[in-house]
């Protein structure tokens, strides 16, 4: 089939065709080896060596041992993972009814308008969105002032620098990556299936559980994987919205690499984060029986 589709390529035979292929391969190989594979090999080497004297190194698991021995490190790791899972669940719970409305209830112009409205906030950078939350939530900000004016609190309360604040920021920042795959998945669900289920005596809950969720599962997995990955690797939102003692694991990597210049430790942390991220993506794909390539194309 390939040959039949490529008369142009067949017209050139032998060495010229090989040369064309090599020229096309060059950028891809340069990119994948120069910017992805070799840098990660370097990172692996860094994470597995220890300095015994100036410019003298030997193999060692010291960095990984430090991670397990120092409670601050592994607690931050666990905390980051747990909060990322919480953020993913919350994003799904908030996005689903909205996606349902956009995909199934809104028709015609309203449908496309609402869908585009969902995308607009994400054309603006995360920095700007986080600035908005800071203005809204800080002690001298809009919401605390509103609470005082409404008589709900006597003095302005600090809404920034709590774990809940980080969650709000993370959910907000991830919303797009959940809404879009959900809307796409729900749009393909035939309304007549729901009508049939209703006629056969199903109620809202059983229809949701037995028809809607199974049908939307590919979209749900795609959204959840992307949201979890982005949340885990986020830096801006947790550092700006979280307090001094609410560390995020990416902050530890930054501190080791840039502030303390301890690249060996930073590299080990990097690999732990990469491992967790990859493991979750893998499990998500395994649970829903999907192929990686399909999920990436869908999102």
């Amino acid at each position: 089939m390939a040959a039949a589709l490529m008369p142009a390529a067949d017209a050139i035979v032998g060495p010229r065709r090989r040369l064309a292929l090599l020229l096309l391969l060059a950028p891809a190989l340069l990119w994948l080896f120069g910017l992805i594979v070799l840098p990660h090999v370097e990172l692996a080497i860094l994470s597995l060596r220890a300095r015994v004297a100036p410019r003298v190194f030997e193999w060692s698991f010291a960095q990984y041992l430090t991670f397990f021995e120092e409670p601050l490190y592994w607690r931050t790791f666990v905390r980051t993972a747990v909060m990322s899972i919480a953020a993913t669940l919350a994003t799904f719970a908030i996005a689903f009814p909205a996606a349902w409305y956009i995909a199934k209830v809104a028709k015609g112009r309203a449908h496309s308008l609402l869908f585009v409205l969902c995308l607009i906030p994400f054309w603006v950078s995360e920095t700007v969105r986080t600035l908005g939350w800071m203005i809204l939530l800080r002690e001298s900000g809009v919401l605390p002032r509103l609470l005082v004016d409404l008589g709900l609190t006597a003095t302005p309360v600090e809404l920034l620098y709590h774990d809940a604040t980080i969650l709000v920021g993370l959910v907000y920042t991830s919303m797009l990556f959940m809404v879009v795959p959900l809307v796409n998945a729900l749009e393909t669900l035939d309304d007549s299936l729901i009508e049939a289920a209703y006629d056969l005596g199903g109620n809202g809950w059983s229809i949701l559980r037995e028809i809607v969720i199974p049908h939307a599962m590919p979209g749900i997995t795609a959204g959840a994987i992307v949201v979890f990955m982005l949340t885990l690797g986020n830096y801006l939102t947790p550092t700006l919205l979280g307090g001094k003692n609410s560390l995020w694991f990416t902050e530890l990597i930054y501190t080791q690499f840039i502030t303390r210049f301890n690249w060996e430790q930073g590299a080990a942390f990097g690999f732990l984060l990469l491992g967790l991220s990859t493991a979750i993506v893998w499990c998500g794909l395994g649970l829903s029986g999907q192929r990686f390539a399909d999920v990436m194309r869908r999102s």
Binding site: A8, L35, A98, L136, R145, A267, G270, S277
Partner: protein, 288 residues
């Protein structure tokens, strides 16, 4: 649940209320950023003290440095534009080559290569950043030790920022362009070749015009993603910060509403970009 099923009015009101609340949640942060760009106060916080344009046009001599007088902020915007320009050109060029490689060429290991091209999208940006930083520093050390060369571009700075952003944005450009190339009708190229066109002429007058919408789309996405990137950039940045890094630094210190002004400026710019793109999604010749 859906309009064709009987629904109580309570259910309808609840859903409508929920959707309204959802959109308030989406737009509230952006709205306050925009509104407080005009507040006549030294911090972006209530109460409202009247309208001012100081945070756009204010000068240092008047005590309030507005966006257009803030040298550091303006130069960081320019840095972001330069970086995004490079990333866009490189990502679209490499993405086009990759698309032809995936859709037209046949060779062993193609399936593995096409999967490998998606991998950068699942690596956290911070890790892309530190791995490229570490690798570039090793290359710089090797060049220094063995060749006696001082390779400045391998030290943290804008060339590394471009490389770091390129490393994952090119995946997206490849997906976008390959998706359109896949739908290309080969009969068009065959017809042109039969009519005596050279391969280069076919590429230039038939295939590339067909790909134009995807190329423009990929370029817009690449520019936007580069302009907004924070994680990878943070690890690779040198002495001249792009806008996101500059804003982050100032937000930690508690900045004046000049940040709101620059944010509003960005919102307007991306809204314009979105309008231009949405108005011509089908530009370029289509196969019939």
């Amino acid at each position: 649940m859906i309009p064709s099923l009987p629904r109580g009015s309570l259910e309808r009101v609840t859903i409508a209320g929920y959707v309204a609340a959802f959109f308030v949640f989406l737009f509230l942060p952006l709205a306050v950023v925009a509104v407080f760009a005009f507040n006549d106060a030294n911090y972006p916080a209530p109460p409202w003290r009247g309208v001012t344009l100081d945070w756009f046009v204010g000068a240092a001599s008047r005590g309030r440095v507005g966006l257009f007088a803030d040298r550091a902020l303006l130069s960081s915007i320019w840095t972001s534009v330069v970086v995004a320009g490079w990333v866009t050109v490189l990502a679209v060029a490499a993405g086009t080559a990759n698309a032809f490689l995936l859709e037209r060429a046949s060779f062993r290991g193609k399936a593995a290569l096409s999967l490998a091209m998606l991998v950068p999208l699942v690596i956290p940006g911070v890790i892309l950043g530190i791995s490229i930083l570490a690798f570039a520093s090793r290359l710089a050390r090797l060049a220094d030790d063995y060749l006696g060369l001082e390779l400045e571009f391998l030290r943290p700075g804008l060339p590394l920022v471009v490389a770091g952003q390129f490393s994952f944005i090119v995946s997206i450009a490849t997906l976008t362009i390959a998706a359109r190339l896949k739908r290309f009708d080969m009969a068009l190229e065959e017809a042109a070749l039969n009519l005596g066109a050279t391969r280069a002429a076919v590429l230039w007058t038939v295939t590339l015009p067909y790909l134009k919408p995807a190329l423009i789309g990929a370029a817009a996405i690449a520019f936007l993603m580069s302009f907004e990137n924070f994680n990878t950039t943070l690890m690779l940045v040198g002495s001249d910060p792009p806008l996101t890094i500059m804003m982050y630094g100032r937000m930690r210190e508690g900045a004046t509403p000049v940040l709101n002004a620059v944010s509003l400026f960005l919102m307007v710019a991306s809204a314009l970009l979105a309008l231009v793109l949405l108005r011509r999604p089908t530009a370029g010749p289509r196969p019939t």
